[in-house]
């Protein structure tokens, strides 16, 4: 059992709870490799994916996680629902609650919308991303992917690069990585920096940190959340922030590249690094992050509902 009913912010989990969830995830990683990828643990529980904003990987990841635990999973996507007819968020939530469900996984384009839902209901809620605010399960899966590669966290140097201003992933990751004793650098032009980066080193050119870091974490350029143009041009981005083959070669031995996806090819990461079926570079952890996501979400559902 976790100390909080819901996971809205990465700070809702204590350090011990984060470590405990990752240990449980280890057991679930084994289950996902079996022929029968299912355990009966959450049989009879109903989990609802309530997505007011588009998503493929997060929604699918939660769905796979719930189903591997034998929970029933219902997908509720805004565009195909009564929301299109003008129903309010809370009315939608009430309708779903009236069907006796056990947990809501909520995503919304407004920061704080998930907390507003949680404040008014009894059952647990997992924040699957709210606006520019938080994306706690992404931070957990990123940390879990790092643990899989490095074994521990203390003293690891991680550079996070790109669009901090519009990134909920950055806010959750920065907090969690710092909490775990990692050395976090920010690489971004001043116009893409977050409101609060006190105590963190800031660079504007990827080349300045490339040789030193263990983990290069490239944020997605959030074009859909940029209401005005924050960065002059793709050429400018490529010059200071993009990862290409030459830059990848300069990174130190054993270092890794991460990205929350979906990648804007040719912007954060060049096409040649991404490759066709999968990346030809074994230190690009993007698929490993996705695999980690299923195990970590299974662990979280288990600890909240089990």
């Amino acid at each position: 059992m976790l100390s909080k009913k819901s996971i809205l912010n990465i700070c809702d989990l204590s350090t011990e709870e984060v470590l405990q969830v990752m240990e449980t995830a280890d057991s679930f990683t084994g289950i996902s490799k079996r022929e029968i990828k299912k355990v009966p643990t959450l049989r009879g529980k109903t989990v609802v994916n309530l997505f007011f904003e588009l998503s493929t990987r997060t929604r699918t990841s939660f769905e796979v996680a719930a189903k591997r635990l034998s929970a029933d999973m219902i997908n509720f996507v805004a565009s195909s629902s009564s929301l299109a007819k003008g129903e309010s968020i809370m009315d939608t939530v009430r309708t779903i609650l009236a069907m006796q469900v056990d947990l809501l996984v909520v995503r919304h384009s407004d920061s704080g919308a998930v907390k507003m839902v949680d404040d008014q209901i009894e059952i647990p809620v997992i924040n699957a991303g709210d606006g520019k605010h938080q994306h706690p399960t992404q931070a957990l899966l990123d940390l879990y992917a790092i643990r899989g590669r490095f074994g521990s966290f203390k003293g690891l140097k991680v550079a996070i690069t790109g669009d901090f201003l519009n990134s909920r992933v950055a806010r959750s990751d920065m907090a969690l990585f710092k909490e775990m004793g990692m050395d976090v650098f920010l690489v971004a032009p001043s116009m893409l920096l977050p409101e609060d980066y006190s105590g963190l080193k800031v660079y504007s050119d990827l080349e300045d940190v490339l040789k030193d870091v263990d983990i290069l974490y490239l944020l997605r350029m959030q074009f859909e959340r940029q209401d005005k143009k924050f960065y002059p041009s793709v050429e400018e981005y490529n010059r200071f922030l993009s990862l290409n083959r030459e830059r990848l070669k300069k990174m130190k031995k054993g270092s890794v590249v991460m990205h929350p996806g979906p990648v804007n090819r040719g912007i954060e990461i060049s096409d040649e690094i991404m490759g066709k079926g999968k990346s030809p570079y074994e230190n690009v952890l993007i698929e490993h992050q996705v695999t980690s996501g299923v195990a970590i979400r299974m662990a979280l559902l288990y600890h909240i509902l089990g």
């Binding site: 059992m1 240990e23 057991s27 084994g30 355990v39 643990t41 635990l69 288990y302």
Partner: protein, 182 residues
């Protein structure tokens, strides 16, 4: 918790494990196709000792696995979460005779969970159950094939199995607890 009696001393425990190991070889006419799976937590060291005995009797390798049934329990909601131990079964159980080992047989619910867990890994030819102590109070139709000792108990008693590997001594004792054991 009050200690009431010693059920098995270290020497008794050693004899019981040897006797059960012999029974397994006898009943299966050797160790062909035999694998041993120990249930976390104390079924693991017990199972390892049995597997080691079988190896020395028949001079062959016996596959050994560990099983944790946390995800298969029917009472996970009512119990305080204990640590989930590792499941490590690095062989295929299909068409094998599985020797399943646990320390104490009580309600039978753990064994029910273990049977489901093993079935999800493959289709064994048979599953045979070894328990060190059968203390009665079954709630499900489960019966052990090899029993170290039958011990009639009351519900407010608890059988404590301590093993060198987990508790730094070999002994089985009966203790009385204030509340009924669930």
């Amino acid at each position: 918790m009050i200690e009431k009696a010693t059920i098995l001393s270290a020497a008794d425990l050693d004899r019981v494990i040897k006797r059960i190991s012999h029974e397994i070889v006898e009943r299966n006419r050797g160790c062909d196709n035999l694998v041993v799976i120990g249930l976390q937590k104390r079924g693991v060291p017990l199972g390892k000792r049995i597997a080691a005995n079988l190896e020395s009797f028949e001079d062959r390798k016996i596959y050994f696995g560990k099983l944790d049934v946390s995800f298969y329990r029917d009472d996970y909601a009512s119990k305080i979460k204990v640590d989930i131990e590792k499941t490590e079964i690095d062989f295929d159980v299909t068409d094998k005779n599985v020797i399943l080992v646990d320390d104490v047989l009580f309600t039978g619910r753990t064994i029910r969970a273990a049977l489901d867990a093993i079935m999800d890994l493959g289709r064994p030819k048979s599953i045979q159950l070894v328990v060190l102590i059968d203390r009665g109070h079954r709630e499900l139709p489960v019966k052990a094939d090899y029993v170290g000792k039958n011990l009639p108990t009351s519900r407010n008693e608890k059988v404590a199995v301590r093993l060198t590997e987990t508790d730094s001594e070999d002994i089985v004792i009966l203790v009385e607890s204030k509340e009924d054991v669930k």
